[in-house]
Symmetry: C2
Subunit: 315 residues, 2 copies
C-alpha cells in the first residue's frame, strides 16, 4: 500500500507537506502542491481511512439501525442513505435490531468503537437505550424529544386512508393498527380514527398482534361485517387480500382495502392495491443530509415529508 510517506519520498518533501497539500488544510506552495498531486495520481495513492479515523477520532462511517432489513420497507430507505453517503464519501454499516434493545445497544457500542461519524436509527427503542453517547443521531420514521427526526406525514397519511374509503362509500370500517411502539403507526391511526369519527363512520380497531384472528376458520364474520379495511402497511394488506379471496369476498365490490407504503409489489397483487405513497428513498437520503449537517455543527431541523394517495383497484 502506498502511503503518505512514499509520496513524501517521491516528491522530496516531508510527510507534513504532503498531508497539507493533499487535504488542502494548511499551506503548501503551488509548485509543491502540484507535484504532490501528480505523484499521488501516478502512484495511485489513496489515504488510509483507518489511520485518518484514528487520528481525527471520527471515521467516515455512519451506522444505520433498522429492525430488519428483510422488511421490504427498509431496503429503499437504506438505498437512499447509501447513495447520499457515497456521494459524500461516507460508508454505511447496517445493524438489524429485531426490536431487541440489547442488540440495539450492542450496535450503538460498536458504532462508538468505530469512531462512527453518526447514526441514523429507524428503531423505536433508541430513546430508552443507554444513549449517553454524544454522537450525532437522526431518528428516521420515529420521533422523540432531544433528537432531530425525519418522517413522512403519518397523520395526513392516516387521514387520507380514511377519507378515501369514505369517499368510496365505505361506512363500516375495520382499522388494523400497526406496531404500537412506533410513533409512525400511532400517528396514522390517530389520523384515520379522527377522520372516521368526524364523518360519523362506524369502525372497529384491531391490534396488529391479533391480525391472525382475521384468518382463523370460523371467524369469517370478522371479515364479512366490514365494507372497508384500513391496513397499517402494504404487507398487511396483502394478507388481508388473501384472506378475503379465500372467503370469496369480492374486492373492491364487497370490501375496499387500502394499504400504506406503496411498495413496488403493490402494483402486482390482485386486485392491485390502493395505498399511501411515502417518499421512502428520500426519507433515507434526507436523513443522511441531516446527519451531515448535524455533524458539521449546522442546524438540522426535523423534517416531515409529504405523502399522497395512490389509487389502484382495491378500492
Amino acid at each position: 500500500m502506498v502511503t503518505i510517506k512514499d509520496l513524501a519520498k517521491e516528491v522530496g518533501v516531508s510527510v507534513a507537506t504532503v498531508s497539507r497539500a493533499l487535504t488542502g488544510s494548511g499551506y503548501a506552495s503551488p509548485d509543491v502542491r502540484h507535484r504532490v498531486l501528480e505523484a499521488a495520481e501516478r502512484l495511485d495513492y489513496k489515504p488510509n481511512e483507518v489511520a485518518r479515523a484514528l487520528n481525527t477520532s471520527r471515521s467516515n462511517v455512519v451506522g444505520v439501525l433498522v429492525p430488519d432489513i428483510t422488511n421490504p420497507y427498509f431496503p429503499k430507505v437504506i438505498r437512499g442513505i447509501e447513495d447520499e453517503a457515497i456521494r459524500n464519501d461516507h460508508r454505511v454499516i447496517i445493524g438489524n435490531t429485531d426490536h431487541d434493545v440489547d442488540k440495539e445497544s450492542k450496535y450503538l457500542e460498536i458504532f462508538r468503537q468505530n469512531n462512527c461519524a453518526g447514526i441514523i436509527s429507524a428503531t423505536w427503542s433508541v430513546g430508552r437505550t443507554a444513549y449517553s453517547d454524544s454522537r450525532p443521531l437522526i431518528l428516521l420514521d420515529r420521533v422523540a424529544e432531544d433528537f432531530p427526526s425525519i418522517e413522512a406525514d403519518n397523520l395526513k397519511g392516516g387521514r387520507l386512508q380514511a377519507m378515501h374509503l369514505i369517499e368510496q362509500g365505505a361506512d363500516k370500517v375495520l382499522v388494523i393498527k400497526g406496531h404500537e411502539e412506533y410513533s409512525s403507526f400511532n400517528d396514522r391511526s390517530v389520523g384515520t380514527i379522527e377522520t372516521l369519527e368526524t364523518h360519523g363512520i362506524e369502525y372497529e380497531t384491531l391490534k396488529y398482534m391479533h391480525l391472525e384472528r382475521l384468518f382463523v376458520d370460523g371467524n369469517s364474520d370478522l371479515l364479512t361485517k366490514f365494507n372497508g379495511i384500513i391496513c397499517p402497511n402494504d404487507v398487511t394488506a396483502y394478507k388481508v387480500l388473501n384472506g378475503l379471496r379465500a372467503l370469496d369476498i369480492a374486492v373492491p365490490d364487497a370490501v375496499k382495502v387500502i394499504g400504506y407504503d406503496n411498495l413496488d409489489f403493490s402494483a402486482y397483487v390482485h386486485p392491485s392495491l390502493t395505498t399511501i405513497g411515502q417518499p421512502i428513498y428520500e426519507l433515507g437520503r434526507n436523513a443522511f443530509r441531516m446527519l451531515m449537517d448535524l455533524a458539521a455543527g449546522k442546524p438540522a431541523p426535523s423534517q416531515v415529508l409529504d405523502v399522497a394517495l395512490v389509487r389502484r383497484q382495491s378500492t
Copy 2:
C-alpha cells in the same frame, strides 16, 4: 472514552500487560489478568476497533457488494451475512454497484482503504475489475475461476422448472432468460433448455431485455401461443402474471407460469406462484463463514446449495 491507558493506570500495570491480559495473546499472571478484566468491566472499557485495525492492518469490517439492495433477492442474503458477521464480531459495509464497473472498483478501493477483513461480492464484473488486491474474496451467486464461490444449484433449478411444467402438461414453452452476464441465470437456462429438448418439447427463448415486448399492445400472440412460461426470477413472473391477466388468459388453465427464488411475496400474488426455492439466507450466512475460513488461511472450498420446487397455484 476509556482506553487501555486508563485501565493500566487503574490496575497499576503497563498498557502492554493490559493488552495481553485482554486479548489473551501473551502472558499475564492469573492475578493481573483477573484484576484487568475486573477493571475493564467496571469502567466499561471497549477496545477501539479503529486503533486495532490500524495496528493490525486488518479491520473487522467486511465489504459486501450487491447490484442493488432494492432488488428483493438481496436483503435476505445480506441478513444472512450480517447475522453471521455479528456473531463473529464483524460488521458489514454495503455497496450498491448498479452493474457499474466504475462504482464497483470504487468500492473495492474503499474496502482497501478501510483495511477490510474481506469481501463478499454478488456482482458480476468483479473478475474483470482491476482486482489486484489480495484481500480474501468470496463470490456469491456467481462463479469465476480463481475465487471460491457459493451459489445455489442453478442447473438443477432450471431443470426442475422445465420438468415441472412438462409434468403439468405444457408442451409449448416460453423460456424467459435472465441477465446474461450472470452465470447463475445462464446455468438455469442451460438446465431448462436441456430438459426441454430431451423431452422433445417445443420452446422459444426471450431475452430478459426484450421482456417488455410481451406486454405491448398488439403483441398478445406472443403470450397466447404458449401454454407454459418459465421465468428467470419471481419478479419477472409477477409481471408475466399481470400481463396475462390483462389479456384475460387463465392461469394455470391456459398457461402455466413458474418463477424462481421463492420470494415471500410469491405466496401473495394471485394465483400464488409456483417457483424454485433457494436457500437465500443460508447463501449469505455460508458466504460469511467461507470468508472467515479464507481469512484464517483455512481452505474454503466452493459450495453449491440445494434448491427445491415450491408448488403453488400458478401451475
